[in-house]
C-alpha cells in the first residue's frame, strides 16, 4: 500500500521560494498567476494492507518526523 504525504508551509508562514517561483512565472510572461506556494511530497511504501491503519501510521510519521508542525501542515493520501 502506498501513502503520499503532502507537506506545505502553514498559511501564516512566509514562503520565499513560492514567491520567487511566482516572480519567475511572471517574468516568463505567464499572466494571471496569483499566489504561488511550494511544498514537498513524500511517497511511502507500506507493508500495511488496511487503508485506515496505513493512513494512521503515515500521519504518525508525518507528525513525528516528516513535517515540522511548528511551520508545516501535512495531508496523507492512501493509494492502492
Amino acid at each position: 500500500m502506498k501513502a503520499e504525504v503532502t507537506i506545505m508551509l502553514k498559511a501564516g508562514v512566509l514562503d520565499p521560494q513560492g514567491k520567487a517561483i511566482g516572480q519567475a512565472l511572471h517574468g516568463l510572461g505567464f499572466a494571471g498567476v496569483g499566489e504561488v506556494r511550494q511544498g514537498k511530497i513524500i511517497q511511502l511504501e507500506l507493508a500495511e494492507t488496511d487503508p485506515a491503519k496505513a493512513k494512521a501510521a503515515a500521519e504518525d510519521m508525518a507528525r513525528k518526523l516528516l513535517a515540522n508542525t511548528v511551520i508545516e501542515s501535512f495531508k496523507v493520501e492512501i493509494k492502492p
Binding site: L14, P16, Q17, L65, L66, N68, V70, I71
Partner: protein, 230 residues
C-alpha cells in the same frame, strides 16, 4: 568545567567549537559520536554547526529524532547546560527543546558574512561576559537561519526575556538592514525558560583568535569556562 561536543553525521564545525572551548577552558572538550554519546559528568553539552544528515528533509530534523537526543534531554533535565549553534540551534528547535523553527533565509541564498549581534540579556551563564546592550561581531554561515515562531510565541519569548541575541548594526540599532536572513524580530539567539539551554545561528567560535580577525566571540566561551552545574 567539563564540556562535550555531540557529533551527528554531517556535523562539520565540531573542530571550530573544540578550538574555542579549549582556548577558554584550558582543556579539550570530549568529542562524542552520536551513536555512543555518554554525557555523564558533563556540565555543558554543545551541538555544533554543520549539515546533520545532509540537511535532508529539513535542517536538523533527523538528528532531532535520533536516539542521542534522549541522553541530551536527560542532561538538560538534570540541570546540565546545552548550547546549540547553527545546525545545533536548528536541531534544538526541531527537538522542541527551544521554541520556533529556522526557515530558509529570506533572500533564498546561503549567507556567509560577519553580522553584528546585540546582547539582549547579560545575566545568563552564556552571556555574562558581555554587557547588556553590547554589540559583538560574529561570522554567520547558513542557508536556513530565518527564525520563525508564531506571534504568541514571540510575545512570550520577549515577555519572559528569553531573547539572548538580536541582529543589529555595528552601533546596536536593531534594523531590517542588519537582519540579513529575515529573522522574526531580528532574533539571532534564544534561551530556554531555565536559562540553561541556548541556541543561536551565528558562529562566535570562529572569532576567538586575533589572527582570524578578532576575539569578539571569546567572551561567550570565557563565560562557559566558568560555569558549573550546581
Amino acid at each position: 568545567m567539563k564540556a562535550g561536543i555531540v557529533v551527528f553525521p554531517g556535523i562539520n564545525r565540531e573542530r571550530d567549537m573544540a578550538i574555542a572551548l579549549h582556548a577558554s577552558t584550558g582543556r579539550a572538550p570530549a568529542m562524542l559520536w552520536h551513536k555512543d554519546a555518554d554525557l555523564t559528568g558533563l556540565d555543558l553539552v554543545v551541538i555544533p554547526g554543520g549539515f546533520s544528515y545532509g540537511d535532508y528533509l529539513r535542517c536538523g530534523a533527523m538528528a532531532a529524532q535520533s536516539p542521542a537526543m534522549a541522553a541530551i534531554r536527560a542532561h538538560v533535565a538534570r540541570g546540565g547546560y546545552l548550547l546549540g549553534v547553527c545546525n545545533g540551534f536548528q536541531i534544538l528547535t526541531e527537538a522542541g527543546l527551544l521554541p520556533g523553527a529556522l526557515l530558509r533565509n529570506a533572500g533564498l541564498r546561503f549567507l556567509s558574512m560577519d553580522c553584528h549581534l546585540r546582547v539582549e540579556r547579560a545575566d545568563t551563564a552564556f552571556t555574562n561576559r558581555y554587557r547588556a546592550g553590547e554589540v559583538f561581531r560574529a561570522p554567520m554561515a547558513h542557508g536556513d537561519g530565518n527564525y520563525f515562531a508564531d506571534d504568541a510565541t514571540l510575545d512570550r519569548l520577549e515577555g519572559e526575556n528569553l531573547v539572548a541575541l538580536r541582529y543589529a548594526t555595528a552601533e546596536g540599532a536593531v534594523t531590517p538592514d542588519a537582519n540579513f536572513n529575515g529573522a522574526a524580530r531580528n532574533i539571532a539567539g534564544i534561551l530556554s525558560p531555565s536559562l540553561r539551554v541556548m541556541g543561536l545561528m551565528p558562529h562566535p567560535e570562529d572569532l576567538v583568535d586575533p589572527l582570524m580577525g578578532g576575539t569578539d566571540g571569546k567572551p561567550l566561551f570565557d563565560a562557559l569556562a566558568a560555569l558549573e552545574v550546581a
